[in-house]
């Protein structure tokens, strides 16, 4: 998939994460988290895993995490990417490998 425009998913509520994706020439992931000291590494791995599965090679991915569980993080990253390329209107391929 290709990030075509800026899109966002999620909130800043406790136990959620707000993910913003924008077009860029390279792939960059920026993570802020209320639990970064104990879970920063795992959050980064989870986000990169979803991006890899969606075959995202370029884009600025910003994650503001408020202690979301992995399942929430995955859903928010997926949704932001889908919205950025209008794949969120119908036949949403939740959790599916898009290659």
């Amino acid at each position: 998939m290709v990030i075509e425009k800026t899109a966002m998913a999620g909130t800043l509520e406790s136990s959620d994460a707000q993910v913003t994706v924008s077009p860029a020439d390279t792939l960059e992931v920026v993570i802020e988290s209320s639990v970064i000291n104990q879970y920063g590494r795992q959050i980064k791995a989870t986000v990169e895993d979803v991006l890899d599965r969606l075959d995202i090679k370029q884009g600025l991915i910003s994650v503001v995490d408020k202690g979301a569980l992995d399942c929430t993080l995955k859903a928010r990253v997926e949704c932001a990417v889908f919205r950025s390329c209008d794949a969120s209107l119908a036949d949403i391929p939740w959790g599916g490998a898009i290659r």
Binding site: N37, R41, Q42, G67, A68, L69
Partner: protein
């Protein structure tokens, strides 16, 4: 040196006879020579002890660089006094290298955090350290490590001469011209002045700060005129509406109510649940809610509580008013209901912080406690509890009476959710040990109850009552299966705070936190 809870205490901290924690009751029977304050004789009668301002009182108190001052925290987040006094000392008198010893410090004291950042306040001794002060300490801004003590450990340290206060500034809701002072009867009432009483007896100079001057004699008095040097009248000593903070909320959360009910069921299943039993709860949501479920068990079995200790909230006052509690013995009030109740009910009486929990005394009230219900930030598979450092390693909590009541009560119950957001409360190793696992008997979570294997008697009682329980390891595994296993925190070498056990030995140290690095 490794101590009795498995924590490595750096040898350089073990100078001047300081020891590592050797287990609960390890110091029982030891002799202590009590420290005594230096008292200025007031032989000749004077009209009054009034000073026109905090500044004038300070002029009489020989303020100097390196001095130790103290405050009580009965106004909690509504305290105005500590900041007012420290500002005068720093701005008007230019005092530097200031040592602050308070019963607790929190969001009301951001000004003190500024002075720590500027290197003006160089040492902190306190029970609680919340808000920006905790951040400043954890980022290594103090010259010497802060000392964190329990409510019982603080008066013990004062009596043993380990904490010597030069001047104490004590907010009082009412005072007369001679310094007979009380936490009730004024325009801003905090209720019990229990935290202030040891300071009034062990500090060299005692200044009462009030906003309601009443006729002499203001009796019964919490602080006696024989202990007071000066009295200052200010506009406002604090805001009692901010005593009930979010830590002291009354929960409506069904998950917390379920845990509270399960904790009450455990209480009722043990042999201590009989006429005249004694009970205390901490101020966390679910532990406070145990009060309301206990009532059903008491009525069903026709059992009355002999006395409640506290840390007093409206919930326990209501039980007394219903005739279900004999006496409330009160070191601190958590809400307006409790404050008014102390003022008006003869069976609700004040006690000092030393009477409450001092292990260096001839026996404090906590020694007679049957049940203690408490919260935790973290509890590990050895039942060690942390209530002082957050999951990011920053100091942001208060042991308060947690270690004292856990150590002495016949049954200490921790009530906490298994996870908070992504943080596993039940974990393999707590960040900081504030209450040793040998003092904790039962853990009630939303995913099940665990009993300390050392308490086979409690296990038998729960089995007999049909109350299910699981191993604490299974709860920890459940927590990690939901949130993932946390990475270890990254620390600098520098020790920023020492957690003292209630007997004065070193239970744990808190180190400076490293900025997070993904690599």
């Amino acid at each position: 040196m490794i101590n009795a809870v498995g924590r490595d205490i750096p040898d350089y901290l073990l100078a001047d006879g300081k020891e590592v924690y050797q287990g609960r009751f390890a110091k029982d029977g030891q002799l202590v020579k009590r420290d005594s304050p230096t008292c200025v004789m007031h032989e000749k009668p004077v009209a009054d002890k009034l000073c026109a301002s905090i500044r004038e009182a300070c002029e009489h108190c020989d303020v100097h660089d390196g001095m130790t001052i103290s405050f009580h925290s009965e106004f909690r987040n509504g305290d105005y006094t500590a900041s007012q006094v420290v500002k005068v000392l720093v701005e008007d008198f230019g005092v530097r290298d200031l040592h602050v010893a308070a019963t607790s410090l929190g969001d009301a004291h951001d000004l003190l955090a500024d002075y720590i950042e500027q290197g003006i306040i160089t040492h902190i001794e306190s029970s609680g350290v919340r808000g920006r002060i905790g951040e400043a300490i954890s980022h290594g801004k103090l010259k010497e490590p802060a000392i964190i003590r329990s409510h019982g450990g603080r008066p013990r340290a004062m009596m043993a001469g380990e904490l010597h206060v030069d001047v104490t500034f004590l907010a009082a809701s009412t005072s007369d011209k001679a310094g007979n002072a009380s936490g009730v009867g004024g325009k801003n009432n905090c209720g019990s002045l229990g935290f202030a009483i040891p300071d009034s007896q062990y500090a060299d100079k005692v200044v009462i700060i009030t906003d309601t001057l009443v006729d002499f004699p203001n009796v019964p008095a919490s602080i006696k005129c024989e202990d007071v040097d000066y009295v200052v009248v200010v506009d406002e000593i604090g805001d009692p509406k901010r005593i009930a903070s979010k830590e002291a909320r009354f929960t409506q959360d069904p998950r917390e109510l379920m845990m509270a009910k399960n904790a009450a069921d455990v209480i009722a299943a043990l042999p201590y649940f009989k006429n005249g039993f004694s009970f205390q709860t901490g101020v966390g949501g679910p532990s406070l809610a145990v009060n309301r479920f206990l009532e059903d068990h008491m009525r069903e079995k026709n059992i009355k509580m002999g006395f409640a200790l506290g840390g007093v909230s409206g919930a326990i006052c209501n039980l007394l008013d219903k005739g279900l509690v004999g006496k409330i013995i009160d070191v601190q009030d958590f809400d307006q209901t409790a404050i008014n109740h102390l003022a008006n009910n003869p069976n609700h009486v004040e006690m000092s912080q030393s009477e409450y929990a001092n292990p260096g005394s001839k026996g404090s009230f906590v020694n007679y406690l049957d049940y203690m219900v408490l919260s935790a930030l973290e509890i590990d598979t050895k039942f060690n509890v942390n209530v002082v450092t957050g999951s990011d390693g920053v100091v942001r909590g208060a042991p308060g009476g947690h270690p004292d009541t856990a150590a002495t009560s016949k049954c200490c119950i921790i009530v906490t959710p298994l996870v908070r957001g992504r943080m596993p409360v039940v974990c393999k190793d707590v960040t900081t040990v504030t209450t040793p696992g040998e003092c904790v008997d039962v853990l009630v979570t939303d995913y099940g109850t665990a009993v300390n294997p050392a308490r086979t008697d409690i296990i038998e009682c729960l089995d007999a009552a049909g109350i299910p329980h699981v191993s604490i390891e299974s709860l920890q595994e459940k927590a990690y299966s939901i949130v993932g296993e946390p990475d270890p925190l990254q620390w600098e070498d520098k020790v920023v705070a020492i957690v003292e056990a209630r007997d004065g030995t070193i239970l744990d140290v808190i180190r400076q936190i490293k900025p997070y690095d993904f690599e």
